[in-house]
Amino acid sequence: MPSLKSLRVRINSVKSTQKITKAMKMVAASKLRRAQEAAEAARPYAERMASIMASLSAAQIGSDTAPRLMIGTGSDQVHLLIVATAERGLCGAFNSSIVKLARRKIEELTAQGKTVKILCVGKKGRDQLRRDHASKIADTVDLSKSKKIGFADAQEIADRVLAMFEAGEFDVAHVFYNNFKSVISQIPTAQQLIPAMIAGTNAAAGAPDLQGGIYEFEPDEETILNQLLPRNLSMQVYRALLENAASEQGARMSAMDNATRNAGEMIKKLTTVYNRSRQAQITKELIEIISGAEAV
């Protein structure tokens, strides 16, 4: 039976923990709203870009001169996995679910005899992957300095990926991130970046109906495509980062909500124990007094 004092101390410490988790939950909620707005604001650009890509690629697919970013290098020996995670923990299974997906992919690829390289974005993912795939990590991007994810951050990552691609360091690139579905549900997703995935359903729907007309291209298709593809890559990375940011806050919010509730339950239990033992002590003292008086 713990003493009354130790129980009181324990209750107080749980109470202050609850205050912290509650505050974290509220901070996450307001950050989530901002992250969601940012993700929403980026949508028009992504949609328009997809529609231009769709219009352009229709003319280019199948031709030998199509840029390598679109059709790939013709081999799929070396894979680059861009694993985007958070910079901080305390957000439930957010980081580990991405890493789990990436790990599965790594195992699958190595089983097929392919070479895997990893580009980590965010230090939590790197810490987890370093345990058993340290030799495969090619580079790490640290985003802890930028408070709000801007397009420039994404562009920097995309630049690095492009430089590696041009240097022939890999053939296929995937990005791993959490797709934000709702506050309680984030879906770890793998998306292929290089070669660019255009033949998706949304791309086909994105091309506007020209009412019988065809596009003119200035200066020409190839030049436009060559400029568009790197930008498309930055955009995909940007989108992944934004989805990730929203998911991170969502995951943190629900994790902290759970923690607050658990703390509440714990306080309730401890208070019951505390009250019981206090009563038991009073009863004991009374019995002692009464039996003392009777003995006289």
Binding site: A38, A41, A42, G150, F151, D209, Q211, E216, F217, R231
Partner: protein, 133 residues
């Protein structure tokens, strides 16, 4: 046929501008072009320059864009720009400082990649200064 062109300017971060205009002049890679209602479908790259929007016979908006893409289809003009600033908001003093920075970076650049990036920045700020004049 519609009387106006729907003009939308989007950056990766947000939809910057959406309005109906009589004419929009876009600084295309191969030369400026004006988009009027009934323009044939077109996709073009954009160089650093100014987009001029005409509504009711007067130029209402002058916006500086640093490269991007323009798409014209069905009386709708969409400009995808990574950076867009209204000309009125360009600040000469700040731009000159930024241009000098970029020039220094270009001189100090260690590899081709960094040099190319700095050169692009020099080009961008030079164009911005011209636009602000």
């Amino acid at each position: 046929m519609a009387e106006t062109v729907r003009f939308e300017l989007v950056s990766p971060e947000k939809l910057l501008l959406a309005l109906d205009a009589e004419m929009v002049v876009v600084p295309g890679e191969a030369g400026d072009f004006g988009v009027l209602p009934g323009h044939s479908p077109l996709i073009s790259t954009i160089r650093n320059g100014i987009i001029e929007v005409t509504v009711n016979g007067a130029v209402t908006e002058r916006i500086f864009v640093a490269g991007g893409f323009a798409e014209v289809a069905n009386d709708k003009l969409t400009v995808l720009a990574e950076e867009a600033v209204p000309v009125k908001q360009l600040d000469r003093a700040k731009l000159e400082a930024a241009l000098n920075d970029a020039r220094e970076d270009a001189e100090d650049a260690k590899d081709d990649h960094a040099r190319a990036r700095a050169a692009a920045r020099v080009e961008k700020y030079t164009a911005m200064l011209e636009a602000a004049a």
